[in-house]
């Protein structure tokens, strides 16, 4: 059983607890133990907080990393935003001694020092590279045959590419493979790699513009006959799910396209019931989707 400190971030535990629960439950099937990460905070939000002060952003990220360093555990997380904050903070601090010195001088105020002794990994990375699509496939009890999935990778998982390990940011395949391993079909849709519109503080700054981007994505997904959107980022998840309600209110466009985090989709395929995955807490009803596959 490989143990990780499970970094929750904000949106998953505080808005979509089903994502948190499904991650823990589905991972157990692969001998991955996502443990309580005591005292973790906001990553903090890379676009919004990083825009105010990059050093403070890295220092607050490093605070979270240092908490896990003390326990000697690698961090696993399920949010692209948290991934950007913590993976990049970890990576930059390890690679750049000057920056490390600068950040450690900030951390000295709270009697903490960044060592660079652990790794920060996105659960999707662990699933693809450590577990592998074959084992994911083996864990399936309820194949999702006939389900058209519109995959939303999210930006901070893949970009900037020089600072990531996933390769192609234009035509990536790994997430598609993980979805196809569950028996579903990944549909290609226009502007698949486009941003959901929420990041960079734009959702809180100019929500109409953020929703306009989201609207375009949802439209393209529906045009491609998608039954569901699957993501690996609770913030994208919120934008795509909650956003549909707001789009309906503001622009009158209705999609009713269910939105699932990959771990929730995986949970369904592994035979878990929708309640224990928290699917009933979504803004957009997942009932039509469940009717189709169950």
């Amino acid at each position: 059983m490989k143990e990780y400190n499970f970094f929750l971030g904000c949106i998953a535990p505080n808005r979509y607890p089903g994502i948190e629960a499904s991650a823990v439950k589905t991972s157990r099937k692969f001998d991955i133990d996502l443990q309580d990460f005591k005292g973790a905070s906001c990553c903090p939000a890379p676009g919004a907080f990083g825009s105010m002060d990059v050093d403070a952003w890295i220092a607050l990220g490093a605070r979270n990393i240092c908490l896990s360093e003390k326990e000697g555990k690698d961090i696993a997380l399920i949010c692209n935003g948290c991934y950007k904050s913590l993976f990049e903070a970890n990576h930059r601090l390890k690679a750049n001694p000057e920056l490390k010195e600068k950040i450690n001088s900030i951390l000295a105020n709270i009697d903490t020092e960044f060592q660079g002794s652990i790794e920060v990994r996105h659960l999707i990375d662990i699933l693809y590279n450590d577990v592998g699509t074959e084992k994911v496939k083996e864990s399936v009890e309820q194949p999702l045959t006939g389900l058209n999935v519109a995959i939303h990778y999210g930006c901070h998982l893949l970009k900037p590419k020089f600072d990531r390990t996933f390769g192609s940011s234009e035509r990536p395949r790994f997430f598609d493979e993980l979805v196809e391993a569950l028996g579903a079909t990944s549909v290609d849709y226009k502007e698949k790699m486009m941003c959901c519109g929420a990041g960079g503080g734009v959702r809180s700054y100019k929500v109409d513009l953020a929703l306009d981007m989201c609207n375009e994505k949802l439209y393209n997904m529906v045009q491609a006959n998608a039954d569901v959107v699957v993501n690996v980022c609770p913030f994208c998840h919120l934008q795509l799910d909650r956003g549909q309600v707001e789009i309906k209110e503001k622009f009158g466009d209705v999609y009713d396209l269910p939105v699932l985090h990959y771990n929730q989709l995986l949970g369904i395929a592994q035979g878990m019931n929708p309640e224990e995955l928290g699917l009933d807490a979504h803004e957009i009803s997942v009932e039509p989707l469940l009717a189709k596959i169950l």
Binding site: P17, A21, F37, G39, L107, I110, C195, V202
Partner: protein
């Protein structure tokens, strides 16, 4: 303008355009590496999902930053970048334009030119440790799923919040927040 078609005579004088050569150096120092290498090809603007729906023009931002036109810091569109990094991944000059924009936002923040929505997020982190804190309704959802009402984060262990505030204090952000909150009152 004094009257239609006429300019104020004081504008007739030449040599009024002023550039601040230090601006781009500060951008590079704050993480916008290679920013001076921009050769204005427009790949960034063309790939940017905001271009077609807003006034944000990444190439123009880079141009102004490079020439040292500090007016770029006052541009409200500077805050429309969703940090999707598409411009950066396609840049043939290996400029991380997104990081350059973030660096410009950092500089703008120092000058109190940051939207209050950002300051609010900082306030929430300072208070609870979370940018998006827990809510009553969510607590119920958590319990139904067999999770504790509060996650094992600063919500359960508020003693860590003081560390967060210390970092905000030593990086000067807390002061900016307080000043801006006072200004907006």
């Amino acid at each position: 303008m004094t009257s239609e078609g006429m300019r104020d005579p004081k504008h007739y004088q030449l040599g009024k355009t002023q550039f601040d050569p230090d601006l781009i150096k500060e951008v590079e120092a704050r993480g916008g590496k290679n920013a001076q290498m921009c050769y204005q090809c427009g790949t960034c603007t063309a790939g940017c999902p905001m271009t077609q729906r807003s006034g944000l023009r990444v190439r123009t931002v880079m141009r102004k930053a490079n020439l040292g036109m500090r007016e770029v810091l006052d541009d409200p569109d500077l805050w429309l970048c969703t940090t999707c990094y598409t411009c950066s991944d396609r840049c043939p000059r290996r400029i991380i334009a997104t990081d350059a924009i973030i660096a410009l936002r950092n500089i703008a923040t120092q000058e109190h030119k940051v939207p209050m929505s950002m300051i609010k997020i900082m306030g929430s982190i300072a208070k609870t440790g979370h940018g998006v804190p827990n809510s009553e309704g969510n607590m119920k959802k958590r319990v139904l799923l067999g999770l504790p009402e509060n996650p094992p984060t600063t919500h359960t262990y508020p003693e860590y919040i003081k560390d967060i505030n210390k970092i905000l204090e030593v990086t000067g952000l807390l002061k900016i927040k307080e000043e801006m909150e006072a200004e907006s009152q």
